[in-house]
Symmetry: C2
Subunit: 306 residues, 2 copies
């Protein structure tokens, strides 16, 4: 095999109660990449569509992740990558993670899978650092493994894949305003009250118990964020109205996707998720802000070969 084409999915990180540790993988929303062997050693990005990104591998998220991966091996040949970005940068649904995950899974597949998927996650962290100035794996983990993931530990890195209840659907609204991940992190306090931390880890525990027991209502009740949302929601127009409309339309729970500006809701069943999408649209149609709305299942497969 000299060339493969892959699909690298968008993801939702944090999931309200799991700041920096929880994430889920979306279906049908993602980038495409072509990865091929080349005679010239090293990593060359040959084509980028859909985004204005640097071609120098060292300055490109996919490039940095790919280089971190290639450093582990002594290849006789080089790698060329084409990036066809569909996920908008700064959308809050893991655009940089999709680039990084696609690069490492793509190269790994092209080489006949010398590494397990679990072991690829660490290579992508350099890419995420380039994008946001912080090491976090809550988007790349679900992009690589699919389903719901938990970053149990960062040092050493350990990611757990959890079950994904079959009737769970995600609705996303992406208001097209700019929030930089680095900025969304800088507005958070460095310390949090112990009492709030207890509230947060009670909910995280409830959410995970809900995934294992397919208890949709428990999953919904646990989607509470007392840590980041109270600060970040002020950056997102009509946040409270969209929340109210989503919950009134039957969503199990609602929150900020990653560091925003995208907002997400989880629902039981596609019909409810579509109603939630309509309710979200209705709110934003009253504003001057452009937006996109998606409805998706949780994808169990992560990056996949097309």
């Amino acid at each position: 095999m000299n060339e493969i084409k892959i699909f690298s999915p968008a993801t939702v990180a944090n999931l309200s109660c799991g700041f920096d540790v929880l994430g889920l993988c979306l279906e049908g929303i993602g980038d495409e990449m072509i990865i091929r062997k080349s005679e010239r050693k090293g990593l060359l990005i040959t084509r980028i569509t859909g985004a204005d990104l640097p071609y120098e591998a060292e300055k490109n998220v996919a490039g940095v992740a790919g280089l971190a991966f290639l450093k582990q091996l002594d290849l006789e040949f080089g790698i060329e990558m084409e990036l066809h970005k569909k996920i908008k940068a700064g959308s809050g649904i893991g655009s940089s993670a999709a680039s990084a995950a696609g690069a490492v899974v793509g190269i790994n597949e092209l080489l006949g899978n010398p590494f397990l998927r679990q072991d690829l996650i660490s290579f992508t962290m350099e890419g995420e650092f380039l994008a946001s100035k912080s090491y976090h794996a809550d988007n790349v983990a679900p992009a690589i493994l699919g389903g719901f993931t938990l970053v149990r530990s960062y040092e050493p890195l350990e990611v757990i894949k959890m079950p994904s209840p079959s009737e769970l659907y995600v609705t996303i609204i992406h208001p097209q305003i700019e929030i930089k991940t680095a900025e969304a992190r800088s507005i958070l306090p460095k310390e949090i009250p112990l009492k709030k931390a207890v509230t947060q880890w009670g909910n995280l525990g409830g959410f995970i118990a809900g995934l294992y027991t397919e208890d949709y209502d428990l999953i919904g009740r646990s989607l509470v964020d007392v840590v980041a949302e109270p600060y970040r929601k002020n950056l997102i127009p009509a946040f409270d109205n969209v929340r109210t409309a989503s919950l009134e339309s039957g969503a199990l729970g609602f929150g900020i996707s990653g560091s925003g500006p995208s907002l997400f809701a989880l629902s039981r069943g596609e019909e409810t998720a579509k109603k939630v999408a309509q309710a979200m649209k209705t709110i934003y149609q009253k504003s001057e802000i452009d937006f996109e709305v998606y409805v998706s299942k949780v994808s169990n497969s992560g990056v996949r070969i097309l």
Copy 2:
């Protein structure tokens, strides 16, 4: 039925990664209580053995919990209670929780179970407040429900019972020094770094995933406390030595039981748990401190009728 005798178990709260939310129920270590109907209305404590506790119901943890329960009902008769304390006060294995849990489950059973066990937990919180000046349910929840429990939320109170992997054993050492729960709480900082909170909820998530998947090693790796243990361990002699000895003897993980001074280890299989007990003993035998050591399965049943 005019009289019942019950066994109210000791419990281990916090479990390292679950400060104020996680707990487990021990087997074979616990108080006995006799609860009977009496002609005189109200709640009367008629006998206390094993501890020097007040007989006035309003000043006694079991009494306060029993009164909170009785307030819900309009009984034609009264209740008498005998408390036979086996769990030492201030041991860190839920002595006050056993009193409170035993009182409410005992009265409920005597009355033919007008309430579900889940709904009894809130009545015991007043008893816990009397004992420690804080409302917490992480000992009473496992004492009432058995197994492993998660307090998902305090407002409103919601407790989730989780599975208990069948080969899991607990070793406890109780060094007979005094640590008051209220004092052990007051030495904790009111705020914690967000980074530590993330570490803690990653581990809590891993622990819960481990319970559902019976992944003993994951359970062990997740037994990490970066929030309370760094402060509280200084109150407990030889903490680091007991930890090292326990882990070297094969324990999956180790931590402070509740607010101490008891220490606990989880092991896979009774044989390992007994080796851990021996290792703990060996450390404390070198000191001047009296101690008791227990090995127990996790009990799935909570307060039970004898």
